[in-house]
Amino acid sequence: MTANIVLGYFFAIVCVISTIYAAVSRDLFRVTIAFFVEITCVSGVLLTLNADYIALIVFTLGLMGTILVISFSSVIQGSLKDSFRAEAVDSGSRRVTRLFGMILGLGLGAAIGWAFLTAPFLDVTKTPVISQEVDVVVLGRMMLGEQLAVFELLGVMILVVVVGAGLLLRKPNNAN
């Protein structure tokens, strides 16, 4: 239990640090790495909730995302090395805008946090109820049972993505 807590805090702290790093770093490669670390940490935090399957999904998300980013960057820039140059040099006003955007985002986060923490129906000081059932079973039952529609819809979405991404990535046909 204690290990759970310690691990949770560890993941949380690492997660926050890597997120901040990802947000402020100007080197895309480092950002990508930080992103990977951060998502991994989220999946770690999820593990402390005993949501193993979700954690796996999130980890997969992080991994695939990182791979995706790296590969696309290399495709776009032609070589891996070039693609991880820093973003275009910031000008003064641009920096202000960045700062402003960041403040805005943090404000939004603060608002959400405030709403959550002050919610009367939520006793935030207690620890979450940890389900004893393995979540993959629950999820599987639901997705093939009462929430079949969701499952089907996810399938349709994948179709959309396949069609869409295929279309977007298709090279223009010169003959026409």
Binding site: G101, L104, L108
Partner: protein
């Protein structure tokens, strides 16, 4: 049956107008012939009506319902054919017939071709005058009044439409009609508001009771203003430049109409408090007209001043309450001036007929006792003398002024008589019988009227009056409409009184002997004539006309002040009216127009309406700039706005 003459008259005039309208160039001669025929028919019907009226029937009144809006608001077109009206009607028909005759004559000889529009206006003008003459309420009276005003404008315009001076004369004529119309209409509306009727009879009845004076005053003032009286006297100049066309126009329009109104509303006018003081205006006008006429060389202009003078006489008598004098002056004066104007304008100077006609007319107008005009003058003086009960000394002042004016005008007229007949050489030998015969008939008829008239009758006594049955007509003609208790010198009552004696004395003492002698002496030959005219011109200029100080604002105030005679000079200053018009009407109108147009175009339309549109559009323009294409900016902006709203709702509440 009793309506028939009027209907025949109106119908024939209408047909005449239509014939004149639809005849094209080739048929113009026929149109003129038909016109003359119809004019004669009209004259016949007028005489028929007159015969009926003066025979046995009393005045005939009939009405057509115009609008019956509610049981209370009923508006009728009322006509009355009474003694006063019918006499003027005959005179009017006569004028029209003569005008038509001249028109045909001009067409035959090719000397004067009338424009189609001008030809149409003559019968229509007659209709207008007929309406006013036979009117029994304000609706039909105003019908005639306004018709004459606008048709006069057209007649002058069309007489030589391509000439600029004619166009401006017509415009000024219109102004002369329009400015008084404000007062006149206010008077009508006031009568309607005060007496709740438009009928002359009812107004006459109600005015005798205690009633506000201002509507009647407005009416009288409007009528006077329109008749070339003092503030607008200088309009006579513009009429002169309207020349031939003016002949029918201003006679039918002014003298007769004014006198008609006096005839119709005489009791009400007499019953109006203090209206007598208005009489100072015609008295001054008469003097001013005579003074202006002294140096005049242009015959048409002379006629213009004469019109002003005749109208002034009519008003003077009417306002002091001598109904019969006013009527007689109007009738004989209009006949005389009509003759004179026809003579002076329809023929060239070399024509023998012109000289004859003009001579006859001038003799009439000099006020010889045997002429109708002289007879009327007798009544005028008698009225002024007799009027002592009313106005303790005022009427003597009026009499003095009027005598001065008469003397001056007598000199002018005698001078012209002498000039026409004795000084000028003639080159044309041919006698124009076709002109002389009808005009001589006309002149003789006038003379017979005068001979049989009051002065003669007065001299030979009552018995003679009874011997002339025709005189009964004029008794009727000179009798004021019913209900006139305050008429002062009507009927035969004056015979043998002091007033009778003094009036006769004044006639001979002022009009005949001094004026004739002075006139004949002053104009003894061409040189003396020119000397005198030059002298008079100098005097007039010295008195009133200061050198031009053009284009200064308010010069109509400043100029008289610079002149020797002070403000009186205003009446002699030929430019004063232009100035006045410019300063009190044109310049302010231009200014107001400018202000309004600036307001309308710049302020309202461009600034306010278009400006509003532009302001809205510029908001749109600046809103467009928000759309800078940066999606992050969009989202951030959205978040801020949304956040602000939510915070507002959370913190402040709904």
């Amino acid at each position: 049956m009793e309506r028939l003459p009027l209907f025949i008259s109106l119908g024939s005039l209408l047909i005449w107008a239509l014939v004149a309208l639809f005849m094209n160039k080739n048929l113009r001669m026929a149109a003129r012939g038909i016109g003359l025929g119809l004019a004669l028919v009209q004259l016949g019907s007028a005489i028929w009506a007159a015969a009926r009226i003066f025979g046995d029937t009393p005045g005939v009144q009939y009405s057509v319902v115009w609008f019956a809006l509610t049981a209370k608001d009923v508006f009728e077109i009322k006509f009355v054919v009474d003694a006063a009206g019918v006499v003027f009607w005959v005179a009017l028909s006569l004028f029209t017939a003569v005008t038509a005759y001249f028109s045909l004559l001009g067409q035959i000889k090719g000397t004067r071709t009338q424009h189609r529009g001008e030809a149409v206006t003559v019968p229509l003008l007659t209709i207008g005058a007929l309406c006013a003459l036979t009117s029994a309420n304000f609706i039909s009276y105003y019908f005639g009044w306004a018709l004459i005003a606008s048709l006069g404008f057209l007649a002058i315009s069309f007489s030589a439409p391509n000439r600029d001076d004619r166009a401006s004369a017509s415009f000024r004529y219109l102004i002369l009609n329009i400015l008084p119309e404000v007062l006149f209409l206010a008077g009508i509306l006031g009568c309607y508001a005060v007496f709740e009727t438009l009928s002359f009879n009812e107004i006459n009845e109600k005015a005798l009771a205690d009633a506000p004076a201002w509507p009647i005053m407005c009416l009288v003032a409007g009528t006077m203003l329109r008749s070339l009286q003092i503030p607008l006297m200088q309009c006579a100049r513009y009429l002169a430049s309207a020349k031939s066309a003016a002949t029918p126009v201003f006679f039918l329009g002014n003298a007769i109409l004014s006198a008609t109104l006096f005839a119709k509303l005489f009791p009400a006018i007499c019953a109006t408090e203090d209206i007598q003081y208005f009489a100072i205006i015609p008295a001054l006008t008469a003097i001013a007209a005579a003074v202006m006429a002294l140096p005049e060389q242009e015959p048409a202009q002379l006629v213009g001043w004469l019109v002003s003078y005749v109208c002034a006489s009519v008003f003077l008598s009417g306002l002091v309450g001598s109904y019969d004098a006013a009527q007689a002056l109007a009738l004989t004066g209009s006949i005389g001036v009509f003759l004179l104007a026809s003579a002076l304008t329809e023929f060239s100077q070399e024509d023998r007929p012109q000289r004859w006609l003009a001579g006859v007319a001038l003799l009439m107008m000099t006020g010889l006792p045997i002429t109708g005009w002289g007879w009327a003058r007798y009544l005028e003086y008698a009225g002024l003398i007799h009027n002592e009960g009313q106005l303790p000394s005022f009427h003597w002042i009026l009499l003095g002024l009027k005598l001065l004016a008469d003397l001056l005008m007598g000199i002018v007229l005698w001078g012209v008589v002498r000039e026409r007949w004795m000084v000028r050489e003639t080159t044309s030998k041919k006698v124009k019988w076709e002109i002389i015969v009808p005009l001589t008939i006309l002149a003789l008829s006038c003379l017979s009227i005068a001979v049989g008239g009051r002065p003669f009758g007065g001299l030979v006594g009552r018995a003679t009056v009874d011997a002339f049955p025709g005189l009964v007509w004029f008794e009727k003609f000179l009798t004021p409409p019913g209900g006139a208790a305050k008429t002062l010198s009507s009927g035969m009552d004056l015979l043998g009184t002091d007033a009778d004696f003094f009036a006769r004395l004044l006639m001979v003492g002022v009009l005949v002997v001094p004026a004739m002698l002075a006139g004949l002496w002053i104009f003894r030959d061409r040189k003396s004539l020119e000397d005198f005219r030059a002298f008079c011109a100098r005097v007039v200029r010295r008195l009133g006309q200061v050198p031009d100080q053009d284009s200064k604002l308010w010069s109509w105030v400043m100029r008289p002040l610079n002149a020797t005679l002070g403000s009186a000079a205003a009446f002699f200053d030929s430019r004063i009216l232009d100035r006045l018009m410019a300063d009190i009407w044109v310049t302010p109108a231009r200014f107001v127009r400018k202000v309004f147009l600036v307001f309308e175009n710049k302020v309202l339309d461009q600034q306010l309406i278009d400006g509003l549109a532009e302001a809205v559009a510029s908001i749109g323009k600046s809103l467009r700039l928000v759309q800078n294409g940066q999606v992050q900016f969009y989202f951030a902006l959205g978040l801020i706005l949304m956040g602000a709203v939510v915070i507002k709702f959370v913190v402040v509440g709904g």
